[in-house]
């Protein structure tokens, strides 16, 4: 503790109320909003907390590790005079931390280069550089139709039992910039890092990611924060913020391209709801607090690129939609903040299609700036629009055929049905180890579009139609 810190520290003994994850402390002065606290139990245990509200001399504190064992007169509360911080350093790479930011892999302690407030500050919109560099994930449904770009936040909306973890791991493993000539390996592999934050997920799922990172050698470029299902839920509120503070340090001070995976944001939101309910706040939809949107935004908006900085933060938050319902507040509000979403479909998964990305409701808002001539290929935008339109029509026709039988379809609609069926099997379906280049993805697209007559392809500019129609058809 520095001398200055010593001066601002305040110790108190009097606790008035303890309820849920919260407690009210009385008889203390000079406490400020958002301040970090330490609660010393008679056992010698130290728990940490944060000031949520202060009125005159009563202070409402949220205790991260839960209030178990805290009584009115058996603990000492210390106010640290500063917000919650995290130690950062280049040596974080390759290490695992717990939900409090402490080393959790049995290794030596971290020698910090800096301590940073985990809440960060909002990025000035003027300082942002627009994300427009194509990231090739090697997955057709993403690269071809819902293109990911550096600095984007693109969540995966999944459901219980769907393979979102495998998809995220595949993205983390395969993601790379398409070498455009000038910038081949110059930025080097060490300029790339993964920050992984687990919130309330099972040991097995967390272990899957960590062993996957170890297996592929990605671990030495990864920083892992783990709060498991059995860990204190309130701790989850700090985990994504710690992860993003680390990511900001790596990206904007060490010039790295950082991919941040946050899983599972539904667990995070439930922790927020728990605190809100304990405070007896007026609930919004489904009991979530009215400020859920703002709160989620302070996490998601920490993705991006800054002018004059080499690094970038790309976010892939994962959330499970209760009952696969995308209008549930967590996916709904997430979708309003993030730049698109990848939605996994149970129906596709049950049909054996994997990764089961349902392209119709999926979207990447930043796609248009990251594709086209010089980035991917000139025809990319048109092909992608056409695939969407054709797939939607095929799906409609198929529904019709279910009711009326194939015979009721017009010849054109029959072609669309064939198109959409083969689309699922050839375009969406791909192996976990299959890393498709963007050219390959687009050519599969053309191969499928060539099932349809040329005049049906209205979304494609005539010159591209002449150049690419029927391309890749020999081979089927």
């Amino acid at each position: 503790m520095t001398f200055r810190e010593y001066l601002t520290v305040k110790d108190v003994f009097g606790i008035k109320d303890v309820f849920g994850p919260l407690m009210i402390v009385e008889g203390v002065e000079g406490v400020t909003y958002g301040e970090l606290t330490e609660v010393r139990l008679p056992t010698g245990d130290i728990r940490r907390g944060r000031v949520l509200e202060i009125s005159d001399s009563a202070v409402l504190v949220q205790v991260f590790e839960g209030t178990l064992g805290i009584g009115r007169d058996n603990v000492r509360v210390r106010f640290l005079g500063k917000g919650q911080e995290i130690q950062v350093s280049r040596d974080m790479l390759g290490r695992v931390f717990d939900g409090e930011g402490r080393v959790a892999d049995g290794g030596p302690p971290l020698i910090p280069e800096k301590r940073l407030n985990i809440n960060g500050s909002p990025i000035n919109p003027c300082a942002r550089d627009y994300p427009n560099e194509f990231i090739q994930t090697g997955i057709s449904t993403i690269d071809g139709l819902n293109t990911l770009v550096r600095g984007q936040k693109l969540p995966i909306f999944s459901g219980a039992g769907l393979p979102h973890a495998r998809l995220a791991a595949q993205i983390a493993r395969q993601a790379r910039l398409l070498s455009t000539g000038q910038e081949q390996v110059s930025s080097g592999t060490d300029a790339f890092a993964v920050v992984f934050a687990a919130m309330g997920i099972t040991f097995e799922e967390a272990d899957y990611f960590i062993s996957e990172f170890r297996r592929t050698g990605a671990m030495e470029r990864a920083v892992v924060f783990v709060n498991l299902a059995e860990d204190p839920p309130i701790e989850r509120l700090a985990v994504p913020r710690m992860a993003l503070t680390a990511a900001e340090y790596l990206a904007f001070e060490l010039d790295m391209h950082v991919l941040v995976i946050l899983t599972d944001m539904t667990n995070y939101s439930e922790a927020l709801r728990e605190v809100s309910a304990a405070r007896r706040e007026v609930p919004g939809r489904r009991g979530y607090p009215g400020y859920l949107y703002t709160d989620l935004a302070t996490i998601y908006e920490r993705a991006g690129r800054l002018k004059g900085k080499k690094g970038s933060i790309t976010q892939i938050p994962i959330l499970t939609m209760p009952e696969d319902d995308k209008t549930h507040p967590v996916p709904d509000l997430t979708g309003y903040i993030t730049e698109g979403q990848l939605i996994l479909s149970r129906t596709l998964y049950n049909q054996g299609v994997s990764p089961p990305v349902d392209i119709l409701p999926s979207l990447s808002r930043l796609k248009d700036k990251g594709i086209g001539r010089g980035k991917t290929r000139e025809d990319h935008a048109d092909v992608s629009n056409q695939l969407y339109a054709a797939y939607a029509r095929g799906k409609n026709a198929k529904e019709l055929a279910v009711i009326l039988g194939e015979g009721a379809l017009s010849p054109a609609d029959r072609l669309y049905v064939e198109f959409s069926e083969r689309f699922d099997k050839e375009f969406v379906q791909q192996g976990e180890g299959e890393n498709r280049g963007i050219e390959e993805t687009l050519d599969i697209g053309w191969r499928l579009l060539s099932i349809l007559p040329k005049k049906e392809l209205k979304r494609v500019r005539p010159e591209y139609l002449d150049k690419y129609y029927k391309r890749g058809v020999e081979g089927i």
């Binding site: 002065e29 406490v31 400020t32 909003y33 949520l52 509200e53 202060i54 009125s55 005159d56 001399s57 917000g83 500050s121 909002p122 990025i123 000035n124 919109p125 003027c126 300082a127 550089d129 627009y130 600095g151 904007f252 706040e281 919004g284 939809r285 009215g290 400020y291 949107y293 703002t294 935004a297 302070t298 908006e301 920490r302 991006g304 800054l306 900085k309 209008t327 507040p329 709904d332 509000l333 979708g335 309003y336 730049e339 979403q341 119709l360 409701p361 979207l363 808002r365 930043l366 935008a381 629009n385 969407y388 339109a389 939607a392 019709l400 009711i403 015979g407 009721a408 005049k455 005539p462």
Partner: protein
């Protein structure tokens, strides 16, 4: 902000997120600005109960605590008005984000206090009034060339009237005196000194001479909007839709192409990258009328979702006050607010902290009236001042209903006050049909006004064509129901033709690619010609059917591909449209001849 010395300083007693309660602020009025705590964060008094003053703080309150001081300013939250607004980007309380970025780095740090408008920059003031003139509020004293597109008109402030004793052409900073008006200054008797800089409290609408009925469309270049659901200059519109349905793209398209003189774009609680997009692309994009960069007519107010929530609440008012200021100069101003739902949520959050009795879904009971006061600041007006200038302020607000459910309070309260409803449809968006405006549920109450205008200026058949297009689309949706039950084969050739033509209207007319260099903007004349061509095909084909030509032959006519390409043809190439029209006629007459031959052949055989 000048800080008054007469009011007493307060002491903080409570801090709950963005809400701070203080006492000892005697002399401070409701909606006054204050500086809060040792960090001197900007705040606004929103409630007074006895000695307790509730303050909403426009910055993150970490580090603020009881016992810290509150400094009153004695003034309500106001914006600075003057040259330098155009091309600038402000946060919700008009702090200059570009200056903050240049001086303090990429993050917005607390307590950053820079004046919204530069005090150093000199502007060339060109008087239009002369010494000895009697002037009244709203009269134009002179002009400043603010940007190549905007001539800034310096007006006599409200409450000032009298003889002009001094006025001079000069290079002036915002604070230099450019004119004096006799006898209206302080203390009484001294002349009033006019500078280029004026202030106006954001929560108070700027006065006008009188409101006028709107009479002119706000041309957006978006076919479904201008042709089917138009908005007028001085009108109000809302764009509700679930996420991913293209609200922001529509708002940005309007900001780019609407034929207003000034655009005020308020990014309220939305994405930082979207604002970055506007900031980076607007200086590059050209205004279709003047050929100048769009940024030269645009003011940006950006309070992204991660910026403090109370400033988000203020951002809408900041934006509309700036917009009114340019309207008062006699300009056509359009304000885009994206998204009003985030604004309403900010109100809800503050209301919750004040422990007010909640209305529907936790929103405060005054949600409806706040929305109404905002939209009612739009309108076509006769400006103050003796020359009878006319100005308009159009407001287009997007709404983000949770789960896309339009029955939620913000959408419903908005629909009660706005005149145009562009309903965005998830299903259309997932088929990548953009703009995903649903043609069956959207409406515009300005159709009669625009019909009359377009009937005179564009083509006499404007109204008929629009009605016909809507009728065909309506019929298509009925037929679709039928097809779902009995299959397409069961339809009569006439009905199948309707289905085909409806598809043409949807795909060749309503669908519009915002990222295609030509398709992104369609002038009204071309919109008319495009629809005219499709409808001509329809009437000709109907006629042909009656004469016994098979439907499939009509559907396979090569001219249909030509029609589909028309939207990509630049306006200048009018002859292409004429060629396609004659191709339709030719194609059909060839079919007819063949048909006749066949018939005569059959007859001869028989």
């Amino acid at each position: 902000m000048t800080e008054g010395t007469t009011k007493s300083e307060g002491v903080i007693t409570r801090v709950a997120g963005p809400l701070v309660v203080a006492n000892g602020l005697a002399g401070t009025k409701i909606f006054d600005m204050v500086r809060v705590g040792l960090l001197r964060l900007l705040g606004e008094v929103i409630e007074i109960r006895g000695a307790n003053y509730s303050i909403q703080v426009y910055e993150e309150t970490e580090g603020i605590g009881p016992g810290q001081p509150v400094y009153p300013s004695g003034e309500p939250l106001s914006v600075e008005l003057g040259p330098g607004l155009i091309g600038a980007i402000f946060d919700g309380i008009q702090r200059p984000l570009d200056v903050i970025n240049a001086r303090m780095g990429p993050y917005i740090v607390k307590g950053a206090g820079y004046p919204p408008l530069s005090r150093d920059k000199k502007w060339h003031f060109q008087p239009t009034a002369k010494e000895g003139d009697r002037v009244a509020p709203g009269d134009v004293l002179g002009t400043v060339r603010e940007s190549p597109l905007v001539e800034h008109r310096v007006m006599v402030p409200l409450g000032v009237e009298g003889e002009l004793t001094y006025i001079e052409e000069k290079e002036a900073t915002l604070e230099e005196v450019i004119a004096r008006i006799a006898g209206r200054g302080e203390p009484a008797g001294l002349p009033y000194e006019v500078t280029l800089l004026q202030r106006w409290p954001v929560r108070q609408p700027r006065p006008t001479h009188k409101k006028l009925p709107p009479d002119e469309p706000l041309v957006t270049g978006q076919r479904i909007l201008d042709t089917l659901f138009p908005v007028v200059k001085g009108g109000t519109a809302c764009v509700p839709g679930p996420f991913g349905s293209g609200k922001t793209v529509i708002q940005q398209q309007l900001a780019k192409w609407a034929d207003a003189d000034i655009i005020v774009y308020v990014g309220c609680g939305e994405r930082g990258n979207e604002m970055a997009d506007v900031l980076l692309s607007f200086p590059e994009l050209k205004d279709p009328r003047s050929g100048r960069p769009l940024m030269e007519r645009t003011v940006l107010v950006a309070n992204t979702s991660n910026m403090p929530v109370a400033a988000r609440e203020a951002s809408i008012f900041t934006g509309i006050t700036i917009a009114e200021y340019y309207r008062d100069m006699g300009y056509h101003v359009a304000l885009m607010a994206d998204s009003t739902s985030r604004w309403a949520e900010a109100m809800r959050e503050i209301s919750g902290r004040l422990e007010e009795m909640p209305g529907e879904e936790g929103f405060p009971p005054y949600l409806g009236s706040r929305l109404a006061t905002f939209y009612e600041r739009a309108g076509s007006i006769l400006c103050l001042g003796s020359e009878g200038r006319k100005g308009t302020l159009s407001v287009i607000g997007s709404v983000s209903p949770p789960g896309g459910d339009l029955s939620e309070p913000v959408t419903q309260a908005t629909l009660r006050v706005v005149k145009v409803f562009w309903s965005l449809d998830d299903r259309l968006a997932s088929q990548r049909h953009f703009p995903a405006v649903n043609w069956l549920t959207s409406y515009s109450l300005y159709q009669p006004v625009v019909d009359e205008y377009a009937g005179k200026r564009i083509a006499a058949g404007w109204r008929e064509n629009r009605r016909e297009a809507l009728r065909i689309l309506q019929r298509e949706s009925e037929l679709e129901e039928l097809v779902r039950l009995v299959g397409i084969e069961a339809l009569s050739p006439e009905d199948r033709l309707i289905m085909e033509v409806a598809r043409m209207i949807r795909e060749d007319f309503l669908h519009q690619n915002a990222y295609h260099e030509v398709d992104t903007y369609t002038p009204m004349e071309k919109q008319y010609s495009l629809l005219e061509v499709v409808l001509r095909f329809y009437t000709q084909a109907q006629e042909a059917l009656r004469r016994g030509i098979e439907l499939d032959r009509l559907i396979d006519l090569p001219v249909r591909e030509e029609i589909a390409k028309l939207r990509y043809i630049p306006v200048a190439q009018k002859e292409v449209f004429q060629r396609v029209v004659s191709q339709i006629d030719e194609g059909l007459s060839i079919l007819e001849q063949r048909n006749r031959k066949q018939e005569t052949g059959n007859r001869e055989q028989g």
